[in-house]
């Protein structure tokens, strides 16, 4: 019986639904505030301390607003895709190790099985499919163009994303994120104890993987250099153009959760997830993911927007070969370590 209650709490409250949602809103605030400060302007201010409740206020406002389904839209698909776009990333976050309820100093994800890394990658690409259907079913010209662009983008970043994600799994010799995190914790501890050359080399190779992964995440989250799917100046709001009210609130919340998921994956695969010396695991998790959100936000402020053909050709000409080389280096290294 007690097992059921703890898992319920784990799923619904702590590292589960409630925590991820609030953390999603917090991440959106961090990203907006960082982007604002880098651009020498204020950013959200009046709601709560330094505008920290602004994302929540936006969410509530949108839920209260009128919810229009355009006449030309394909009703069922149009109404249900926002649910998928919100639920799928949320489901994926359950596989990320954050903090175990029972004991303060360990981290066990809500659900963990061999191969959950593949499950997370699969869920993230299904989200792209849902986004494509959302744009296409909205019956709006700009929505259609946005949807086709999302599909093109998936062609570009999906392969380097999955290739680089496999890197740490090879080193840890397991496909479960939890064991990857454990392996990182041990190997970092071992490395600190006896720094050897191979440790440094694996660090370098993993860093390259980290960089490629960040670029692919920027494309997956449709953030600035690759946000041609909702390019405000070309196709109004891209695939979200016809959404309003509750559906748009769900879409925005979905995007926040996807950002949390992306940052969480980044930390678990490359930065050692919730492992850390003094503080309890979920504090470390929050620090590291906020650091990743800051990186994403800084990069998104730094560049102009690419065209869709530049992304696809650039990805195939540079990202994919770089990712393949990185994985080969990892395989070679795994023989040694």
């Amino acid at each position: 019986m007690s097992g059921l209650i703890t898992t319920l709490i784990a799923v619904l409250v702590f590292p589960g639904l409630f925590f991820i949602l609030t953390y999603g809103l917090f991440a959106q605030w961090v990203s907006r505030k960082a982007a604002a400060r880098l651009q020498n302007r204020q950013g959200p201010l009046h709601t709560g301390w330094q505008g920290i409740l602004q994302p929540l206020a936006d969410f509530i406002k949108l839920v209260a607003k009128e919810d229009i389904t355009p006449a030309a839209a394909n009703k069922t698909v149009f109404n249900f895709t926002p649910l998928f776009i919100f639920a799928l990333p949320l489901a994926a976050t359950f596989l990320i190790p954050i903090q175990s309820i029972t004991n303060l100093w360990s981290w066990t994800p809500v659900a963990s099985f061999e191969g959950d890394l593949i499950m997370v990658l699969f869920l993230m690409s299904i989200v792209v499919l849902a986004i494509f259907l959302a744009g296409w079913s909205s019956g709006n010209l700009f929505g259609a163009v946005g949807a086709t662009r999302v599909a093109f983008m998936m062609l570009a970043y999906e392969i380097p994303l999955s290739l680089v994600a496999i890197g740490p799994a090879i080193l840890a010799r397991s496909l479960s994120i939890n064991s990857i995190v454990n392996w990182q914790a041990e190997s970092v501890a071992a490395f600190l104890a006896a720094p050897n050359l191979w440790g440094l080399v694996t660090g370098m190779v993993l860093f390259i993987g980290f960089a490629i992964y960040v670029i692919c995440l920027l494309a997956e989250l449709e953030m600035r250099p690759f946000d041609m799917s909702e390019a405000e100046t070309e196709i109004v709001h891209g695939w979200q153009v016809e959404y309003s009210g509750k559906k748009l609130a769900l879409l925005n919340a979905g995007h926040d959760v996807k950002m949390v998921l992306a940052a969480a994956l980044l930390t678990s695969l490359f930065l050692g997830g919730p492992a850390g010396p003094v503080l309890p695991p979920f504090i470390w998790f929050i620090l590291k993911t906020t650091f990743c959100v800051l990186i994403l936000s800084n990069l998104s402020v730094l560049f102009a927007r690419f065209r869709i053909d530049q992304l696809v050709s650039g990805a195939w000409r540079y990202l994919v070969p770089l990712a393949v080389l990185q994985v080969m280096a990892v395989v070679a290294l795994s023989g040694v370590i």
Binding site: R37, L38, Q39, N40, R41, Q42, L302
Partner: protein
């Protein structure tokens, strides 16, 4: 990547944007804002009304001595300062007040009154 140094330098500087209602910009003294009127100097000649490009100024009570003041409709006014330049007696000029938002249309009509010239007292009645 070219702007990275600039971004980080500005990240910790004070933001360039002001929080308007609480921090205000001090307007330069030459700013053309809301009108101001001196009832004694005005002689009701109506030159300002005639020269106004957007017919924003109307005289109250007719030109000349009968004039009892001015109606300046800020809704129509261009703030071009032509009335201030043409007024022979410097009775009408533009101040630097630039916050002119009003809730209903009637408030944006400024109603200036001319101090009536001392009425010629009725000759003291003989006792």
């Amino acid at each position: 990547m070219a702007m990275e140094r600039e971004l980080l330098k500005n990240a910790f500087r004070k933001p360039a944007t002001l929080i308007y209602p609480f921090e205000k910009v001090e307007p330069p003294e030459g700013l053309r804002g809301k009108h101001d009127y001196d009832g004694d100097k005005c002689i009701g000649c109506g030159l300002c009304a005639r020269v106004c490009p957007s017919f924003a100024i109307t005289l109250k009570g007719g030109p000349g001595p009968k004039c009892t003041g001015l109606l300046v409709d800020l809704g129509k006014c261009l703030f071009c300062q032509q009335c201030e330049e043409v007024c022979p007696k410097e009775a009408l000029w533009l101040t630097t007040a630039y916050e002119l938002a009003v809730l209903n249309k009637k408030d944006c009509i400024l109603d200036f009154n001319r101090t009536p010239p001392p009425q010629p007292q009725a000759p003291p009645k003989k006792a």
